[in-house]
Amino acid sequence: MRYIYLLLTVLLFSCDPQWRDNSSFMAYEPIYISKEEANSIGPRAARQTLAPGKIYAYGNYLFQVEQHQGIHIIDNSVPQQAHKISFLNVPAASELAVKDGFLYTNNLDDLVVFDISDINSPRLVNRMENAFPEISQDYPPVNGAYFKCVDPSKGVVVGWEEKLVENPKCRR
């Protein structure tokens, strides 16, 4: 019987993460990229879509965000033969819009503008720093969540992943 109480106690305590020192539970862990990577922006070879994000249609082209990494550029002039042209590397990108041959997206919390009038060689033409401080990834997307504290020496946080985390010390 004693063991049952013990078991119950353990179960009860295990429900509240605050009591679970040095144990693992579902919490948020930052996704880092290096500082060099964060500044590495521009066209790259087409690549596979792994974390599909937002979509946008403009003229004969389609765009799809690769979450936290950039934008797939797709030739859709003949939908039956739609294919990727290239990948626009924009670390931490999550949004995009296009007007008159210019593509607007976010490089973490900066607004950046690409000239895509030559779709084969997008050119970064402007950057407005810190335009979207609210997109900043200092904290996970959910209030009250436990998370692994951010370690700036590991780079720049571009997003958060919910996973089993060992003894997450931060909460917000």
Binding site: P52, I55, G59, A97, K99, G159
Partner: protein, 259 residues
């Protein structure tokens, strides 16, 4: 995939899209009027949108207005305190619809550089958290997703009379699975129903949507958002993009998967 799923499951991104039909004006009813101004067309989950010479963005509490009359040189015109937990922005004619976790904020852009809040059209008591919304003419369609922490027992497609935009009245509701983004062409409404695919509705009688069919793909991806674009339905799925031919509006046929 791995980052997409937790982001959606946990945060339960309350998606709000508002789409208005242009009534009998067929000439512009099948595509975004914004395209005519040199901009493209985004999905119902967008946080960026271009209307005329302005780029509007939302981030949590703030609606930002960038003048892009010189498109290579955006200049920040204004930051407007818009509301709370804003997730999406959707333009229609001279209005912006901002979707938040609990309410739809409607702004007039009569003066495009200076958006004015008109109303909080749909009250949180009518449409709860985690609710994508769509509208047509005098009708709004809301998909109420009730999984996770948002409460409720069934997800529905709700139909509201928005003749008085400040006082929507629920007219109808239909059961759906796990709805995300949505879009329309003419009298056909496409609702992303996550793992169940796309639900196609006939909305010729706007207050009485008729479910026509469900469409999915062999790979069984999750469907997250749609951009109807000319005769193609561009779908954001968990595998990338899937294109459907919607020349026959109610019968999407697979064109191509891009992943």
């Amino acid at each position: 995939m791995q980052t997409l799923k937790p982001a959606f499951m946990r945060k339960l991104l309350p998606i709000i899209a508002i789409i208005f039909f242009l009534g009998c004006d067929k000439s512009v009813s099948t595509d975004s009027s914004a395209y005519a101004t040199g901009g493209g067309k985004g999905g119902s989950l967008a946080r960026f949108t271009v209307v005329g010479d302005y780029l509007y963005t939302v981030d949590k509490q703030t609606l930002k207005v960038f003048d892009i009359s010189d498109p290579s040189k955006p200049s920040l015109k204004r930051s407007v305190d818009a509301g709370f937990e804003i997730e999406t922005i959707f333009p229609f004619k001279d209005k912006l619809f901002l979707g938040s976790t609990s309410v739809v904020y409607i702004f007039s852009i009569d003066d495009p550089s200076n958006p004015q809040k008109l109303s909080e059209a749909i009250s949180p008591t009518v449409i709860r958290r985690c609710d994508p919304v769509v509208a047509k003419d005098n009708v709004a369609y809301a998909t109420l997703r009730t999984n996770g922490p948002c409460g409720g027992t069934t997800s529905i497609l709700a139909v509201y009379d928005i003749t008085d935009i400040k006082n929507p009245v629920q007219k109808n509701s239909l059961p759906v699975g796990e709805p995300y983004g949505l879009g329309y062409v003419d009298n056909t409404l496409y609702v992303c129903d996550r793992r169940y695919g796309i639900s196609v509705y006939d909305i010729s009688k706007p207050y009485n949507p008729v479910f026509i069919k469900g469409v999915t793909a062999d790979s069984n991806p999750n469907f997250i958002d749609v951009v109807p674009y000319n005769n193609v339905l561009v779908c954001w799925t968990s595998t990338g993009i899937i294109l459907y031919d919607i020349s026959a509006r109610q019968n999407p046929t697979l064109i191509k998967q891009i992943s």
